[in-house]
Amino acid sequence: MQTTKGLKLADILTTIVISIVFGIVYKLWGPFYYFVKPFGLHVDQLIYGMWFIAATVAFLIIRKPGVALLAEIAASSGEFIMGSEWGLEVLLYGVVQGLFAEAAFAAFRYKQFDVFVVSLAAIGSTIGSLIMDFYKGYIEALAPWNLALFLLARFVGAVLISGVFASSLVKALEATGVTQMVRSASKEDYEQLDR
């Protein structure tokens, strides 16, 4: 029951450690991404959404403001430290993607934890990544049909992976009982002390 401002140490540490697990996934996802990239038909974009999952999973577990942003930064730092193929770029992408995911959760005042909100956050992260791509990758210069396919694949993939899949992953984790350690005790629990 600390009354310090912002996140507690335990929240921060848990967010970061969760994110580092995803940092490992992110790192392994890189080669996979190139493996499924059969030159331009954008199948690769369908799996791009994995890189947004740290924010949604961490938020669903800890359920506090700031967690989504921190998670995405931490996961990309982890990926970076383990020697990402993309180098420094992952850090900046992480920040932007995290900000947009955070905005989605903030829009619901951090009170809603269903598939809908996390899918929205996934869409947010996608928009963030596209802004970065716009500057970095000249995506606007792709042929229009190709660009459309690219965008569609990325959005759909993001919602499926970082939205739907993330929710089901957290449900599986909740079944293990471990999430109880993280979330704060309810009022009823305190009331039962007096019985």
Partner: protein, 260 residues
């Protein structure tokens, strides 16, 4: 950060980590707005030399680290080359449409990815995370609760990789091999995440049991300051950039200054 490899400590290792990070971030942003392929090629050559000569790692490892970046180069370049828009057609074959413009843009993107990768490699090969976070606390006023949480997390990476291996073996033994990619991610993620969450909670309690507090003033075991190496770093970076621009105007490789 590489765990088991012995390296020679160079001046790049002694540069202030915060400064190094900021400078590299600035170059990163500069490159985002750099559309002249001549300058970009020069810049990547400059950074490549820095990486090759001054990171202090044995040649074998340097080549090993660098290998994946060729793949990135090719794949980044190819997508734009094959499907980009342009007016001077070179090849037209089904959906594939290679134009002079798209080719140049593709190459430019390839070199850009290479630059980002080099910046990242140089940084992570020459910066110990502990020094980085101490420096971030001392120079950029990062809150200790974030810095030490990151450090605790970094410490857990090798442990997690070991656990990852164990889960892999366990799944093999149990015959849980045949499943979709996402199902597989879940099979790995649930044990690793639950173990990590428990560990994070315990470490946080242990840290507070050792009187860690975000409020009280603390001393630092490592004092990270500035030295002549920082000037050296700053000048060499500025040098590389200026040379890149100069060489690009005097000896251009291709007569194009903007690939957009």
């Amino acid at each position: 950060m590489r765990w088991d490899i012995h390296y020679r400590e160079t001046w790049l290792h002694r540069t202030n980590p915060s400064l190094k990070l900021l400078v590299m971030m600035s170059i990163f942003i500069l490159v985002l707005f750099l559309h002249n392929p001549n300058v970009l090629i020069n810049l990547s050559i400059g950074l490549f030399l820095l990486f090759f000569i001054y990171t202090g790692y044995p040649l074998k490892y340097l080549l090993l680290f660098f290998l994946p970046f060729f793949v990135i180069f090719v794949s980044t370049a190819s997508s734009m080359t094959l499907f980009g828009q342009g007016t001077t057609t070179w090849v037209q074959w089904g959906l594939v449409h290679v134009t002079k413009e798209s080719f140049l843009r593709g190459m430019h993107l390839g070199f850009r990815a290479l630059t980002f990768a080099l910046l990242g490699l140089i940084f992570s090969l020459t910066t110990r995370p502990v020094y980085l976070f101490y420096s971030l606390m001392q120079q950029l006023k990062l809150k200790p609760k974030y810095a030490y949480s990151f450090l605790a997390g970094v410490r857990l990476i090798p442990i997690m990789l070991e656990e990852f291996q164990t889960v892999q073996n366990a799944l093999k033994v149990r015959g849980a091999g045949h499943s979709g990619t996402l199902e597989k991610v879940k099979r790995y993620a649930v044990p690793l995440l639950s173990q990590s969450i428990r560990r994070a909670q315990r470490i946080a309690v242990a840290m507070e049991a050792k009187r860690f507090s975000n409020e009280t003033k603390r001393t630092f075991y490592y004092r990270i300051g500035f030295s002549k190496y920082d000037l050296m770093f700053l000048f060499s970076m500025i040098g590389i950039i200026m040379l890149s621009y100069y060489a690009a105007t005097v000896f251009p490789y291709i007569p194009v200054t903007d690939v957009r």
